[in-house]
Amino acid sequence: MYKALRNPYTYLAFIVPTLALYCLFFIYPVVVSFIYGFYQWDGISEKLFIGIDNFKRLAHDEVFLKSLGNNFYFMAFSLIVNIPLVFLIAIMVSKARRMRGFYKSAVFVPVVISTATVAILFGVLYNYESGMINQVLRAIGGESWAKEWLSDPHLAMLSILIANAWQNIGFFIVLCLAAILNIPKEIGEAAKIDGVNAWSETWRITLPLVRPVLFVMLLLTVSGTLKVLDIVQIMTNGGPFQSTEVMSTYALKVGFRSLELGYGSAIGVAMFILILIMTGILQRVSKSEEVQY
């Protein structure tokens, strides 16, 4: 009966082109990255094998440690500020009995705009003289409230985080909203009959039931903030004084500007391993927490 589905030539014809591309542009670069990490190399002269020296150097490289710290600042901000905000807004939209579709579409608009454009848009908004943010602050608090958002080392990272939140949380809101609306209606109704108020319904019923999606958001936030690159590169390119440097911008600088291909690859490998460890831990933690309706 199923002989038609057992033709080895068709099978290979259907998977080999994909595998060829995948191995060439994906697996090969991963393997090569790991190999380069053990060499000292400027891309032109002979490669010099130096074992794990590149990785030892990472542990003492102040700029790398600073960029690692910035990645974690990025992660902490996204976890502590963005995720609760996402959950709050998703709950609110799910409670609205009218215009739910409008709210859902409106909050999603920034998600489809390119990061390059978002970076430029916020560059304009943050401008000291004519930017909207300072204009608002001057209007409500006077000249001293206006700030050099992107060129003050103490504010630059925060300014990027706000732009990033503006762009990304719409996606998470819609994700979370889909999960909330997925909860069987009977559960909410049963709770109301039992006299549960809105506050404890949210805390004790909705939150536990959407835990799988909160976990997806956690996973995406952790891996996303560890590999963040384009918004930082366009808004500040790591400056001022490396106050916004992150691992990827630093790896690119080391690899392409200073032509230290081995060391740049080692930074890439470190990122890769860090993401693998963090997501591995998260996955293990979540494994025991399957939800039943």
Partner: protein, 293 residues
């Protein structure tokens, strides 16, 4: 619910409270509107700025433009080559999406429906590994690989790399969808004497249309907005894609906000139009798979 309400089994106080909550949705809508305004206002402000002169932007940011002149748009379109960049983006994006869909549909079909279970399982796992790798860790070897293949500074390089990077998630979604296709459909096709390739083209592809459209939209938005790779792999000005072109424009025109605003608006319009027409599909597509687990 209705039945319970009418049968009068609920304490009157509970009933009163819940109907009070239901009728006073005003605060909820007000707060949601505040959020929607925060999200959309920057775009509106930019739209207004794009019709002003630079002097108007600095002197009275909040006023409506005195005249709606399109000079900024003309300048952005002509001297900043936004039109050229958009055309390049369109070519690269469409070609990469097309290639991704063809390859991943064929692979997902072979892996999910053809009778080589053990091998398919291994191949599928191997491809899913791609979801864990941060692209940022691969730039150095990828750059050298593209150069060695004599693809540096061509659209082909971008097409092949975008296609490859989209494969793991696309195959993941299509594989899940195709697995759920009932085997009766297949059996009917086999009765009619179709080969595996015939089954794929005449049965599986038509029934998988919703999933194919979803992955197409996902790939389209991702490729249209991609910035770092296009900046890394293409240097010739006239070959640049929109996000890279925008970022270059940003560096050159940091003080010319009027033109910059117009350029940003031009770059947002196509993707906003696509979004408005395909809202439901985009939102559902982006959230598919992550909600149920």
């Amino acid at each position: 619910m209705e039945r319970i309400l009418t049968s009068g089994k609920i304490a009157p106080s509970t009933l009163q409270r819940s109907s009070f909550l239901r009728n006073s949705q005003l605060p909820l809508h007000l707060s949601l509107w505040v959020y929607v305004i925060i999200v959309l206002f920057p775009l509106l402000w930019l739209l207004l700025s794009s019709f002003k002169t630079n002097r108007e932007i600095t002197v009275n940011t909040w006023a409506l433009p005195t005249t709606f002149n399109f000079d900024n748009y003309k300048a952005a379109w002509e001297s900043a080559h936004i039109g050229q960049y958009a055309f390049n983006s369109l070519i690269v994006t469409m070609a990469a999406c097309f290639l991704t869909i063809v390859l991943s549909a064929a692979t997902a079909f072979a892996l999910s429906r053809m009778k080589y279970k053990a091998l398919s399982k291994k191949v599928y796992g191997f491809i899913l590994l791609g979801l864990l790798v941060p692209p940022g860790a691969l730039f150095i070897p990828l750059y050298r690989l593209v150069t060695d293949l004599h693809l540096y500074d061509t659209h082909q390089a971008l097409i092949l790399v975008y296609c490859t990077y989209a494969l793991p998630i696309t195959i993941f979604i299509l594989h899940a969808f195709m697995q759920s296709v009932p085997s009766e459909l297949e059996e009917a096709g086999i009765m009619d004497g179709l080969s595996a390739a015939g089954l794929f083209a005449r049965v599986i592809v038509p029934v998988s249309m919703p999933a194919l459209v979803t992955v197409f939209i996902l790939a389209f938005i991702g490729n249209w907005n991609e910035y770092i790779l296009s900046q890394l792999l293409v240097t010739t000005e006239s070959l640049r894609t929109l996000p890279t072109g925008m970022a270059t424009f940003n560096d050159g025109y940091r003080t010319n906000f009027a033109s910059l605003s117009a350029a940003v608006i031009i770059s947002i319009i196509p993707v906003l139009l696509v979004y408005m027409f395909l809202q439901r599909q985009i939102i559902d597509g982006m959230t598919a798979g992550s909600v149920k687990g």
